[in-house]
């Protein structure tokens, strides 16, 4: 399968403080189709990459089509990162997926209410990510 790194290749930002999980989610995403994947080890780094600092959108932010983030991270939780993304006029349309190893209904609802596209339980499986990719295609189609 040829990879054409053109405009229409979805670019995903994956945020997780656990090294093994970062490697795993990167491989899972790349195995689902040709995807450009960037990983970040915490919320701050993710925001820097997106060009979002202290509520100001800087012009040098990278464009992503989806953000997938762990919930439990030191410094800034996945929820707090989600919040900042939804508060940004530039980024708020980007679907954000929250992952967690803990199945806590209040946590899940909290994230969905804040505008998370989806909540996924860790550890992630290939079938989860394939489902996600299918959904993402639908989201993109809806926007057109």
């Amino acid at each position: 399968m040829a990879c054409n790194y053109e405009e229409d290749v979805p670019h995903v930002l994956a945020v997780d403080d656990n090294l093994i999980d970062r490697k795993l989610v990167e491989k899972l995403l790349k195995s689902s189709s040709c995807r450009a994947v960037t990983t970040a080890e915490n919320g701050m780094r993710a925001l820097e990459y997106l060009g979002l600092k202290e509520h100001h959108q800087q012009n040098n932010g990278s464009k992503v089509n989806m953000i997938i983030t762990d919930y439990c991270m030191p410094g800034m939780t996945g929820y707090e990162l989600l919040q900042k993304i939804k508060e940004s006029s530039v980024l708020k349309e980007v679907p954000v997926i929250i992952m967690s190893s803990e199945n806590i209904p209040t946590r899940i609802n909290e994230c969905l209410e804040m505008g998370a596209h989806m909540f996924m339980l860790k550890p992630l499986k290939l079938s989860d990510v394939k489902k996600l990719r299918h959904q993402l295609t639908n989201v993109e189609v809806e926007k057109r």
């Binding site: 093994i20 490697k23 491989k27 899972l28 195995s31 030191p74 190893s101 290939l126």
Partner: protein
């Protein structure tokens, strides 16, 4: 020198026992499914990262529990990491041990934590030895010109 067929049978038996005895769970199979021609060493790479990471975590845990005043939040944070990474590679017994460990952290039970640390270390060494043996078997099969049997 064992034949390819014998080695493959050994591999199947060994892998089956690892799942049966709970050392590995379905998540390990997921890792194997992700391995392909573009990334033929994926499983070994991820597992090696897990080994390095675990050894660091175990050292950090030992240090944290040796402090005059133990910071249980810090201890719990390390155990959370360990639980996460072991779960991601399918090292089920290690993950289960981490669950107990977290309970003792919540209770601020030093004795319980120290015991769990020893047990977690023990389970980690066991699964590490078994995975290394499995990888060696794989190498033997490949070197003898055979292919690794797919486990379903």
């Amino acid at each position: 020198m064992a034949s390819v067929t014998q080695l493959q049978r050994q591999f199947i038996e060994y892998t089956t026992s690892l799942y049966k005895e709970g050392y590995l769970d379905d998540q390990f199979t997921q890792l194997q499914k992700l391995q392909d021609e573009s990334n033929p060493d994926f499983v070994v790479e991820v597992v090696s990262l897990f080994f390095e990471d675990s050894e660091k975590l175990l050292n950090n845990l030992a240090t944290a529990l040796q402090q005059k005043v133990v910071d249980y939040k810090q201890v719990d944070s390390h155990v959370h990491q360990f639980k996460g990474s072991s779960s991601s590679i399918g090292a089920q017994r290690v993950t289960n041990m981490c669950v107990h460990f977290r309970n003792f952290c919540e209770e601020k039970n030093l004795e319980g934590c120290l015991q769990c640390l020893q047990q977690a270390k023990h389970e980690y060494i066991l699964v590490r030895n078994k995975l290394e043996a499995l990888f060696r078997l794989e190498q033997q099969i490949l070197q003898a010109g055979g292919s690794i049997p797919m486990m379903e």
